[in-house]
């Protein structure tokens, strides 16, 4: 199992994105509301986050290519907890969104 966090910039989000990425069946939990660490909660959400458990390397490779080919997507290794994963790129969860 390859655990990844897929970040989707709000401006580039669309309802069928996970299906297009071939990831619709691999999500763990609800989407996360994410924002920069230095923003205030009232500034709102900048990204949506999807924790993915990807079973096969082929699926992971396809996702990497999808991320390269589409604007506003970032794929992060979930090698620690979600808070640390986000903090490493200046982001955090917006708890009030």
């Amino acid at each position: 199992m390859i655990d990844q966090l897929l970040l989707v910039r709000k401006f580039n989000s669309r309802s069928d994105l996970l299906e297009k990425a071939g990831m619709a069946g691999f999500t763990k939990g609800d989407p996360l509301n994410i924002m920069p660490d230095v923003w205030e909660d009232k500034d709102g959400v900048s990204h949506y986050g999807y924790i993915l458990g990807i079973p096969k390397l082929d699926d992971f490779n396809n996702l990497q290519q999808f991320v390269k080919d589409n604007e506003g997507l970032t794929l992060l290794d979930m090698d620690t907890n979600i808070t640390a994963t986000l903090a490493a790129v200046g982001l955090r969860i917006n708890e009030s969104a």
Partner: protein, 166 residues
Amino acid sequence: MTVINPAIPAGPYTFTWNGNDIGLTEGPARMQQSPFGLPVRATQWGDTIIDYILRGGGYFAVIVVKEWTTNSKLFMWPFGSNQGVIDEPGRLFSSYCQALVMTALANTPAATYGPVTRTYHYCATLPGHNLDIQAGPQERNVVVALGVLPQPNSGGSYKAKFFTDT
């Protein structure tokens, strides 16, 4: 009738280095990158470059620091905020590198079109860059040129990753 609404990602960014706010800056941050390549020539083509052998790349940034604080001084001189001392010869640049995180101001086109954040995971003042620090009845704007070091793009990879955009 509608406005043209071009996708122009304008908007200021704020900066932290090693998790600390470096304060106000002057003008835009300049994010620079260039591929390195060895020119390929052949006698039959004279001096014409017929291809390049790609050999990695270099990533740099230029930020003009405006405030004079412990954080901003450490950012421009990672050997210590008193700036009067440089460490022993032989130390590696990488040991002074820290993460620089740029964040777009909320509700700006930059925060819409991105990057909302850019993280240079390992960077510090570029060796050889001359910090020109002015003292006088004016703003103390200091141009800081940053060298960026890469990490493997993934485990076992020799693709060099220099930053992460979100």
